[in-house]
Symmetry: C2
Subunit: 100 residues, 2 copies
């Protein structure tokens, strides 16, 4: 359960996919592939991206809907909230400690 979430976030390519879906939700597999190679210089096969999307979906971070031969991928950030719930954070006035 929580396993799927953190495993999904563990890979940099998957995090970039989440970034792209944040920017534009409802993309198809091919659209995501193009963006990864165009904007991020990621030389990665369609199947690899498809497998990443499957993991993101298992984690609940991506939801899909089929329309004809297209499958659209939507971002769902709700599962991320469980992270903040699990390890309570101090108030966000001081954003992050930098080693001085």
């Amino acid at each position: 359960m929580a396993d799927d979430l953190f495993k999904a976030l563990a890979d940099p390519t998957r995090r970039t996919i989440l970034d792209e879906l944040t920017e534009k939700s409802g993309q198809t597999l091919f659209e995501i592939c193009s963006r990864l190679s165009m904007k991020h210089q990621l030389g990665i096969s369609r199947q690899a991206v498809s497998q990443h999307l499957a993991l993101l979906e298992a984690a609940g971070l991506v939801e899909t809907r089929r329309e004809g031969r297209y499958k659209f991928h939507d971002l769902n950030t709700a599962p991320l909230r469980r992270i903040a719930e699990r390890w309570p954070m101090p108030d966000p006035s001081e954003p992050e400690k930098r080693t001085p």
Copy 2:
């Protein structure tokens, strides 16, 4: 940078360590070892735990201070905030969507 954070969170044993440090900050390596095997039935060697702590420290989630022959481990949840910042979440009134 972000890599270290998500890699650190990817392992279930490391997340349990964070849980333990949430409950009681400032534990030594041996204290953490005992708790993992007592409370969580994790048969794991001291060295394995030590390596986990090193990764958590690299991610900034754990900070350490030495005192004599003891090394105390403190939780720092600040890096977690970057997750929420990277992928904006809707307001938390509806906690999480359950597949109906």
